[in-house]
């Protein structure tokens, strides 16, 4: 029993941190733009496959490839997602959501066309091979590193939002657009900035976990579902709520996996979120502000 409690604690920490890193970008978009980014999954896909393309077909070194991935991600988000779609359909949710889903479908299928699942994609970003052994269970060191990076990234975001002036403007826009406009904030630029900020955590996340994760062109959908569920539970666009929610979801997943049945992990999370939505639709924290 003591051992299983140990497992659950370690896994709660690990899963919770991973979920946090996955959903951070989603929460930022929800909090600032107040829209639902249904194409969030393609950020993961673009990150992994651009990295693979740069290394394999353009023979970049790993360092340059990582830099290249971030540059392409930012350009892709601005040129393909933000300016043509998000800015255009900001007030028409049904068109916005459908267009984003379509773009992400097109991206997935394009990737699948050039690099199908059988292409054997391997991202050489392994920092520490091997696994931590606790009794009979083992956790790859890479995932533990990802968890620590997740906490560090969240801390940097929190510092940025709370202590840097641009962060203050972002919070102002997220709280009240008219008020922020009156104070001289350039809402359009803040939106673009939020879109750029939102691609950073998922890109970092997938680049670190890629060596130990199963990489297919369709990996985005599952990761996006996790991000959506955590964000809903956390109160759609409140980062404090998201932190709490990701550890709750992490605990639930770990506890169900160890004590009930690993197959019920996904179902338990879905039921928890659906129940919370019915009884407390605003989520754990109210989404009046980003922080």
């Amino acid at each position: 029993m003591l051992e299983s409690i140990q497992f659950v604690i370690v896994y709660t920490f690990m899963l919770g941190s991973l979920y946090l890193l996955m959903s951070l970008g989603f929460s930022i978009i929800c909090g600032v733009l107040r829209v639902f980014h249904m194409g969030y999954g393609m950020i993961f896909v673009v990150a992994v496959y651009v990295m693979w393309m740069l290394i394999k077909d353009f023979h970049f070194s790993v360092g340059w490839a990582i830099l290249g991935v971030f540059v392409i991600q930012v350009l892709f988000t601005l040129i393909v997602v933000y300016y043509p779609i998000v800015r255009r359909y900001l007030d028409r949710e049904e068109l916005l959501l459908t267009s984003l889903i379509l773009v992400s479908l097109a991206v997935e299928e394009t990737v699948n066309f050039f690099y199908p699942t059988t292409a054997g994609v391997y991202i050489p970003t392994m920092i520490l091979p091997g696994a931590l052994k606790i009794g009979q269970a083992s956790i790859p060191y890479q995932l533990l590193i990802a968890s620590i990076v997740a906490i560090a990234a969240t801390a940097i975001f929190a510092f940025f939002l709370l202590k840097v002036k641009t962060g203050l403007v972002i919070r102002a826009v997220s709280q009240n657009i008219e008020g922020a406009l009156l104070m001289g904030a350039s809402v359009e630029r803040i939106y673009a900035l939020a879109m750029i900020l939102s691609v950073l955590p998922p890109t970092i996340c997938i680049l670190i976990i890629a060596p130990v994760w199963s990489i297919t062109p369709y990996l985005g959908m599952d990761l996006m579902m996790t991000a959506i569920l955590v964000s809903i539970l956390g109160g759609l666009g409140n980062i404090r709520g998201s932190i709490l929610a990701s550890y709750i979801v992490g605990f639930l997943a770990a506890a169900v996996a160890f004590w009930v049945n690993p197959r019920l992990m996904g179902l338990a999370t879905l039921i928890l979120v659906a129940t919370v939505l019915i009884f407390r639709p605003q989520g754990l924290a109210r989404s009046e502000s980003l922080w």
Partner: protein, 346 residues
């Protein structure tokens, strides 16, 4: 029978009956022409069972999209999980047919009843959950159902799906059977079209328009919005479930992985959007367009997976009013509830 030409119209006299037909094309919005066309179409492609299946699928897509259009207007909410009820209908029919050997017409009643029960269970959400939250819950529901089909794989057969469902109709010859199934789907769609069209032009349609426009004002005018939203949700859910019933009996199999994931929902939602929001006739145009486009593009080989979403995206950009919008632009705009998704602060 006597034919008479009177200024702008043709008048047919059949015994005591007098039928009039406007000559001027702008008054040709008689859906009878379109319906007659749809009935003739299967006869033209009678020799091609693959096209027949395509037509049947398009009809059922439309039969799911038509009630969904009504639901969106009548509840003022964007339902992201219509496939939940397709799943309910399909699994109920498949399980009854496999375990108890029930035929399609026996399962139909139970399918409608089951869908009504689930509809009643979920309908309070249309009042409780506002705007985006309703969309989110409906998005999550089919995914929960999909997880359940995996967890209880001994009942729902998870990935592979249930097979051995009794066929919808069997008339011996394969072509005749396909033709009959196609006409059954067509009749189902036309019945839905007729019902929803009549409802939208009636008092209840006016209520739906009022609720869709502004719930507070509608309530101030003395409308019991909670009741009408729930009634609308339950009835449309039952109608959508029949689509699942048809799929189960038509293909003889029913798998959660085909109908419950987001891909199927996107197709239905696109049919509604590309046809024209809140336009029930547009749903048919959209369903045929999407089904035919998907089929036509397969000739291009594996690239069609990329081109299909891109074409649909281009359509959303170029025709925000939908395909039906092109037609409607040239005639006077009749009163019709437009679908607007509530945008409240989240």
């Amino acid at each position: 029978m006597r034919l008479e030409h009177k200024r702008s119209r043709l008048v047919f006299h059949v015994k005591n009956l007098k039928l009039e037909w406007a000559i001027e094309p702008r008054y040709w919005r008689n859906p009878l022409i379109a319906v007659a066309g749809l009935f003739l179409l299967p006869l033209l492609i009678y020799s091609r069972p693959d096209y027949m299946t395509l037509l049947t699928t398009a009809n059922i897509y439309a039969a799911i999209a038509i009630p969904l259009s009504w639901q969106m207007a009548g509840t003022g909410r964007l339902n992201f999980g219509p496939q939940f009820f397709v799943g309910i209908g399909g699994f109920t029919a498949a399980l009854l047919s496999i375990h108890w050997g029930w035929g399609p017409w026996q399962t139909l009643g139970i399918v409608i009843l089951t869908a009504a029960c689930f509809g009643i269970l979920i309908s309070p959400l249309t009042v409780l959950a506002q705007g985006l939250y309703f969309s989110l819950i409906t998005l999550v529901l089919p995914l929960i159902f999909l997880e359940i089909t995996f967890v209880f794989a001994d009942v729902f057969k998870g990935e592979a799906g249930l097979s051995g469902v009794i066929n919808l109709i069997n008339l011996g010859k394969i072509r005749i059977t396909f033709l009959a199934a196609c006409y059954i789907s067509l009749v189902l769609m036309i019945i839905y079209l007729f019902i929803v069209d009549k409802i939208m032009r009636s008092r209840i349609g006016l209520y739906a328009a009022a609720i869709n426009d502004d719930e507070v004002v509608a309530e101030t005018c003395g409308l019991k919005i909670g009741r009408w939203k729930m009634i609308c949700f339950v009835i449309t859910s039952m109608m959508i479930a029949v689509g699942g019933w048809f799929f189960a009996h038509y293909y003889g199999t029913f798998a959660g992985t085909t109908y419950l994931p987001l891909n199927f929902m996107i197709k239905i939602l696109l049919i509604v959007l590309i046809g024209g929001r809140g336009e029930i006739y547009g749903s048919i145009v959209g369903a045929y367009f999407v089904a035919f486009l998907e089929q036509a593009l397969t000739a291009l080989g594996p690239v069609h997976h990329i081109i299909f979403p891109l074409i649909l995206l281009a359509m959303l950009f170029v025709l925000p009013e939908g395909l039906y919008g092109i037609y409607r632009r040239h005639k006077y705009r009749e009163y019709y509830p437009t679908m607007r998704v509530r945008k409240r602060s989240i």
